[in-house]
Structures are given as C-alpha cells and as structure tokens.
C-alpha cells in the first residue's frame, strides 16, 4: 500500500477524516501517528459541564419538588447540547482524534442511553467520567467505573434492585432487578455466547444488590453508594465460582473475574475488530487481539496496539461504512468548521443517530447493513447538500479533497469534484462520494 493510502487509512479508521495538514503530519508513519496519541492527554475541553452528581441531585430534588421541573428541563437541555458541543469540538478540531474515536467506541460498548428520560441529563457526564479516563487504561478499571456510575445504575435499574432477603427487601417486600446483571454479562463482558446461564444472571444481580445512588439525605447525594441494608445476604455462585457473603467485595471480585475471563477477551476483541477492520472481521485477527487482551490482563493501550498492528486493518481501505456520527464529524473536520450543537443534533436525529440516544443497551450497530437502507442513503445524500449549503465559509473543494485524501481517490471522483458547477456543489459531491461515505 502506498504511504499516502496508509496515511488515509490511519486517519479515517483510527480517527475521522483528516483535518487540513493532518495527512502530511501522518506522512509515512501511520502506526506511529496513532501510537503517539495513546500517550497523550485528550484534546477535550469539558468547559463548565456539570459533573453527574450535580445533575442526579437536581433530578432527585425535582422529584421531591415539582415546582423546579420546568427549570430543570431547561437546564438538562442546555447540558445535553453542551455535551454534544464538547464532544463534537474535540472530534472535529482536536489533535487527538484517535482518543475521541476510542471514547466513542467504548461509550457505545457501555451504552447509557437517554432513551430512558431519567438518565438523559447524565449520558454525557457518564462518558466523561466513566469512559474517557480509561480508554488507554485497564479494562477492569473502566468496567468498575461504569458499573458503579450513577448513570449506569439508573439506566439499567440496579439503583432500584433490592435483595429480597435484605433488611429493606424483607420490610418493604421488594426484589431483584436483573437488568444490569444480564447486560453486564451479555453486552459488557462475556458476550451473548459467553457460556453463562440465567442462573448466572440472577447470581450477578444478587451480587450487585446494594450498588446504588446516594439519595438526597446522604452526605454526597447523587454519587455511587453501597447500601448493605439492601444487599442480598448469603453466598452466591457465579460461573461456578462461589462468592462468599461479603457486601461490596462480592461485586468487586466478580467484576475482576469477569474482566479477566477468556470469553470477555474474545468478546471485546470481536467488537474491536468489527469496528476497526471489517463488519465480518477475520477470525485470526480476532484471536490475536483476544490473546493480547488475555496476556496483558486487559491493558487497553496494548489491546489497541494489537489492533493497530493487524495487517487486515491496512489491507482493504474503505471497508467500513461510516455511521452518521462519523460522517457528520468527518465532513466538518475536513473543512475545519464546527456546527451549532442544535444543528448537529437535528442532523444526527434525521440521520437516525441522535447523540447519546442509542435505541437499547446494546448501543448503535457497527455494521453497514444497519446504516444503509434506501431511505437512509437518500437522507445521507440530502444531508451532504444541506451541509455544504449551510457552511458560512466554503473552502475550495479541490483543496479539501487534497487535504483529506492526497491523490488516492479514483480519477472519476476527483474529476467530478473538480468539474462541479460551484464550490458548494463540489464539496457536497466529495462528502457524498462512496469513499467519504466509508472509512
């Protein structure tokens, strides 16, 4: 593969469309460009976005005091748009696009979706607090941060899960909610074919009883709290291993064991290979990435490097269709402009991928078949034109093409962009081209 094509693959597969100058920066060392970012601080500015404890506390207060509701609604809307803006700016303008892609990948792996209105306000904070700090750290640390985050505990109902034989469970006749236990096994760790049973789901749910959110009367309302009085007493057996009656220690030990389980390594490797290589990734690539996961105890920096050094990543450029989010980020990154957050939201909503609003805990799909339907391709085409029409300053599309692709695009695409009747039309065509629709 010529150096210029490898540079395009590095930028688009591990980041987004290259911003002006980035391709030259990557030069002939595409792997080095990716690797160097793994040790950097993310070029992400949260501004004055509130921490999750503030948002959760405000929501708890509004439950008590209905007067505050309209005000809270406005505040949550502003926060939501602020989260979109911060995330967009980092991905579009930032110097660490690889870290942004990893954050979005892991944020999707551990989806907390605002489709449940009660968590809509904390979805962005969840990503900032539980995902972002760990994308090049250890999987167990991310898993623990996620599982103990108020966003996840509320989203998957663990905050309202009671050990039936706990003090409160017996007094109030309340029971287990298995949601988090199930998704933790099915989606977050072992995977649906990971060899667990319904009994394991129930055991993990019992182990995690008591992992909840501190109420208003607490010293630190809206944060993670373990309450022994709702924790199910007794020993639990998960995946053949007994966890002795031990309060919060049971959950911490179970998460450690799940994080190091070979099925987890395989599940994570499959997800990564599907994201970075192809919708149906080669089995040997998955196996090598899984091995690195196992050998390093889930060191995500090492696992990312294992992906980077898979030959299959570089073999077939443009193998993945861009999701709407990737498409919108890439289009703006290529021209160096940032959309108003409300405009970005409406665009992504119409393209069926509104930010932080995945349809289920499984997150957004990561295969072309989910994003390419007759109606969606028409809408994507329409968006390309809308995007170009709405830009305040329209750069020369030939320059944008050179910045984003060098000379690697097929001649018919290059000439179509060059021959376009005006700059906006040329830019829209470039964004609509089969290559820009992919990565």
């Amino acid at each position: 593969m010529p150096a210029s094509m490898a540079a395009v693959v590095a930028a688009t597969r591990f980041g987004f469309a290259p911003k002006p100058g980035e391709l030259a920066q990557i030069g002939s060392d595409p792997r080095g460009w990716v690797t160097s970012q793994l040790d950097r601080r993310p070029d992400f500015a949260p501004g004055n976005l509130p921490p999750s404890r503030e948002i959760v506390t405000a929501m708890l207060e509004s439950r008590r005091d209905k007067e505050e509701r309209p005000e809270l609604k406005e505040r949550l809307k502003a926060t939501y748009l602020g989260e979109i803006d911060a995330r967009m700016r980092a991905a579009i303008l930032g110097d660490t696009p690889v870290l942004e892609r990893l954050t979005q990948f892991w944020g999707n792996h551990f989806t907390v979706s605002g489709m449940r209105p009660f968590v809509r306000g904390v979805t962005g904070a969840f990503e900032r607090e539980a995902i972002r700090p760990h994308v090049t750290g250890r999987f167990i640390d991310m898993l623990t941060a996620v599982t103990s985050h108020p966003g996840m505990l509320l989203y998957l109902d663990n905050a309202q899960s009671f050990g039936p034989d706990s003090l409160v469970g017996r007094r109030q006749n309340k029971g287990i909610n298995e949601n988090l236990g199930r998704e933790l096994l099915e989606l977050h760790t072992l995977g649906v074919d990971g060899g667990y049973t319904q009994a394991d789901v129930e055991a993990l749910a019992r182990i995690l009883t008591g992992w909840t959110v501190a109420p208003l009367r607490d010293w630190h309302p809206g944060t993670f709290r373990f309450f022994p009085q709702i924790h199910e007493p007794g020993d639990k057996v998960l995946l053949g291993r007994t966890y002795r009656n031990g309060g919060i220690d049971e959950g911490e030990a179970a998460l450690r064991d799940l994080a190091l389980h070979p099925a987890t390594a395989r599940h994570i490797a499959t997800q990564l290979a599907r994201h970075f290589i192809a919708d149906t990734p080669p089995a040997d690539s998955v196996e090598r990435i899984a091995r690195r996961f196992r050998d390093t105890g889930g060191d995500l920096r090492q696992v990312t490097l294992a992906v980077l050094h898979e030959e299959a990543v570089w073999r077939e450029p443009f193998a993945k269709v861009r999701t709407p989010t990737e498409l919108v980020i890439s289009a703006y990154r290529a021209v160096g402009a940032v959309p108003q957050p409300g405009f970005a939201f409406m665009a992504l909503k119409k393209l069926d991928q509104p930010p932080f609003l995945a349809p289920s805990p499984a997150g957004w799909p990561d295969v072309a078949s989910a994003w390419v339907s007759p109606e969606s391709v028409v809408r994507r085409t329409e968006w390309c034109q809308t995007f170009a029409e709405r830009l305040a300053d329209v750069p020369d599309p030939v320059d944008v093409m050179a910045n984003a692709y060098g000379e690697v695009l097929p001649e018919e695409i290059q000439s179509a962009v060059r021959r376009a009747p005006d700059k906006r039309a040329g830019l829209a065509l470039l964004i609509a081209s089969p290559q820009f629709q992919r990565r």
Binding site: V192, P374, V378, E382
Partner: protein
C-alpha cells in the same frame, strides 16, 4: 424545473443496477396476502391507562378505587361515551366513538403481554419482539411475520414517522416514511451522486430504491389533496403530531402499489403526574390518538373496508391515583381493534373485575395481547398457523389466537 420523477426517468437510462418495477412498493402480485387487506399496528409507548380509555363504570369498585380520576357517566356534562351497559369511552376519544356504532371498533379489555417487572424498557422490548425472554433480541414479530408474505424484492411494510421500531426490525427489508427530513436534494445533485454510485453495489441500488420510494410518497401525498399540506405539524413530538402521520400513512397504504402493512408510534402515555380526567394531559393524548385514527380511516378511503388497525401498549397503570394526581406502572391495559375488517361494536375479552387486583394495585390480565396479534396475523393476513407458532411467536404455544375478532 425538473421534478423528482423526471430525474428518475433520466437516471433509468444510465444506471444498470435498477431492474425493478416503476413503483416503489409492491402491488398485490408482490404480496401473498388475501384480497386487498391492510394492517396498521399502533404502538402506544409509555403505558396507556386502559381504565381511563374505556372505563368500567358498571364495576362496583370503580368509583371508590379510582377516586378523583373516575370519569363521569354518560349523559352528564363531559361524561364518558356509552359503549355497553358497564363500559364507556373516555370523552376525549370522541373521534372514534362513531366507529363503535358502525361495528368497526372493537375493544379488547384487560390485555397484557405477560411481562411483570413494570419496566417500560423491557416491556416494550417484549411487546415488539414477541418473545418471552429478553435474551438476544434482534428482531420484531411483525418483521418475522413478513417473511412468508413478502413476494419479490419490493418492500411490503412501512415504518411511519422516524427510525424503524423494533417490531419491524429484522431480516426482511422494510420501507420507512419520515416527514421531517432534510430539504430534498436538487435533481442535478442527485443525478451526479447516482453517477458516482453507479459501480457501488451497496450504495448504488440503495439510492435508486430510496429515490423511487421517495418519489412514490411525494406523488401520493401531494396529488391526493391538492392545496393541502398533509405534513403540517407532523414534525413535532406532541399528541398533535400523530394525526398528520396517520393521514400520510393512510394515503400511502391506500395507493396503488403502496405498502400493505404499517407500524407507527405514539408516545406520551406515561402519566405519573397530573393525569387529569376529562381535561388534562391524558385527555389531550386521547384526543390526538382518536383524531389520528379517524384521519387514518378517512385517508384510506375505500381501502378502509379491508383494513385492520390494532393498538397495543406495554402495560397498564395502577388502579388507584398516586400522590401526584397520576397513576404508576401497572399490569393490564387494553387494545383497540378498528377497521372495516373488524367485527366490532362490542367489548371482547373477559373482565377480571376490580374486586381482586394484581399485587393489590393493578388490573389483572384477562387476555394476552399476543393472542390478539396471532388471530390478526392468521385471520387477516392469512399467515400459516405453523409458521406463526414456530417463528413469529415461537415460545408461547399455550397462548391461543382469540377467535371472533374479524368479520367473516
């Protein structure tokens, strides 16, 4: 100025990938459905209060248990609308009341889908997947029902109003109709993009098919009512957005070569706070819902005679009023079954009564909603009973189709 149709004609010459018929959707020959039948499934997300929709005024415990949420009897000012001696329709559902008199509206009361955790989230997944376990859900029962009905490549079913809901997701491709899209791309631009996609085996055929469907919708929706913008107001989320969507759905379903099956959503039913009785939040939602269904019937025109519309919600609400003048997550709710194909003008299903409640708080389930759906798929769409049992609702053999819902 060239119209989208002109562009399509223009593209037809140059793009070899397009081998399909002129219309974007199947004609009767493409679908293995008896006669000229249509099916619309309306998903009421958020858990509709069935006791408010069709109040059991004749139940001795109704007035005392419902308290401030109890409806006034028929005849009083703002009173409920009479159905049977014991049941009456919410006054804000007035737009569908005449259908009851015509025998085109059936109420199946005290329905549920067998899921007990009272989580919207899970219960909606159950309602749409048709499965009784949550594990590994990837497709919906209506999509699985399409497989034997679909003939050829044209798409038989339509998701109305946005992203395709789980009920229609799955292996069989379905169309979608969304009013609030972007501005249509200029014909010249579309032509140029189509040329770039000429050799793209994924994007090329999809663009062609999408343009055909869009052209079809544009044609149907613009020509049937000259001067009227049917999509006015459809972009929002409130109860008023439902009616224009219903109008569009009716026209698309009625059109020659149009889709035959549609699924649509209406939210806003989660009335924990200030639910209201003849006025208020729930009343507003009922009004939007009923006016929407009436508009659907009107816009279907002659096709209404062979149409069946069924509504379903994930669960019901508590019988008693809560501390914030609303109701909390309950168990049984109800289904409306409407259309010319329905044997209506009556209330179907057993009435479990309010003297004994589920967990001392909810209306108990007397009829499983899947039994209703099975009867519709079998009787109305002619789905093979074995396929129905094995693939569409694979793990609920004990739930039998409910007899007698349809006109003979």
């Amino acid at each position: 100025m060239p119209t989208r149709r002109d562009v399509l004609r223009l593209l037809g010459g140059g793009v070899a990938a397009c081998t399909c018929a002129a219309a974007g959707w199947p004609s009767a020959a493409f679908a293995d459905i008896p006669g000229n039948r249509r099916l619309v499934v309306v998903l009421q997300r958020g858990a509709m209060d069935g006791l408010a929709a069709v109040a059991p005024l004749g139940d001795a415990n109704y007035a005392s248990l419902r308290g401030s949420l109890a409806l006034k009897p028929p005849g009083e000012a703002n009173g409920a609308l009479a159905l049977t001696r014991d049941f009456a329709l919410h006054p804000s559902l007035a737009a569908i009341h005449p259908y009851y008199g015509k025998g085109e509206l059936l109420v199946v009361h005290a329905t549920g889908n067998g899921y007990q955790t009272r989580s919207h989230f899970d219960a909606q997944d159950m309602m749409e997947s048709g499965l009784s376990a949550k594990r590994g859900i990837t497709d919906g029962w209506l999509n699985r029902a399409l497989a034997p009905l679909q003939r050829g490549k044209e798409r038989l079913a339509l998701a109305v109003g946005g992203a395709t809901p789980l009920i229609l997701r799955g292996a069989v491709p379905v169309a979608s109709y969304e009013p609030a899209g972007f501005h249509e791309a200029a014909p010249g631009f579309v032509e140029a993009v189509a040329q770039l996609y000429a050799n793209d085996t994924l994007l090329g055929p999809a663009l062609q098919e999408g343009l055909k469907a869009q052209s079809f919708s544009n044609g149907v929706l613009a020509t049937n009512t000259p001067g009227d913008d049917p999509m006015k107001g459809a972009a929002g989320f409130g109860p008023k957005a439902f009616k224009p969507l219903c109008q569009a759905a009716g026209k698309l379903l009625a059109a020659e070569g149009g889709p035959r099956i549609a699924a649509m959503d209406m939210g806003g039913w989660d009335t924990h706070v200030a639910q209201g009785t003849e006025n208020g939040r729930l009343a507003g939602n009922f009004q939007g819902f009923a006016e929407g269904l009436d508009a659907l019937a009107q816009s279907l025109g002659d096709a209404w005679r062979e149409t069946l519309v069924v509504s379903v919600t994930e669960f019901g609400r508590t019988v008693r009023v809560n501390g914030t003048n609303g109701t909390d997550h309950g168990t049984a709710s109800l289904m409306f079954v409407m259309g010319g194909a329905v044997k209506g003008g009556r209330i179907a299903g057993d009435w479990p009564g309010l003297s004994r409640l589920q967990d001392d708080r909810d209306l108990r389930v007397a009829t499983d909603s899947r039994g209703v759906m099975k009867a519709i798929l079998r009787g109305h769409l002619g789905l093979d009973p074995q396929y129905l049992a094995a693939r569409v609702f694979p793990d609920t053999a004990q739930i039998k189709p409910i007899d007698g819902l349809l006109r003979a």
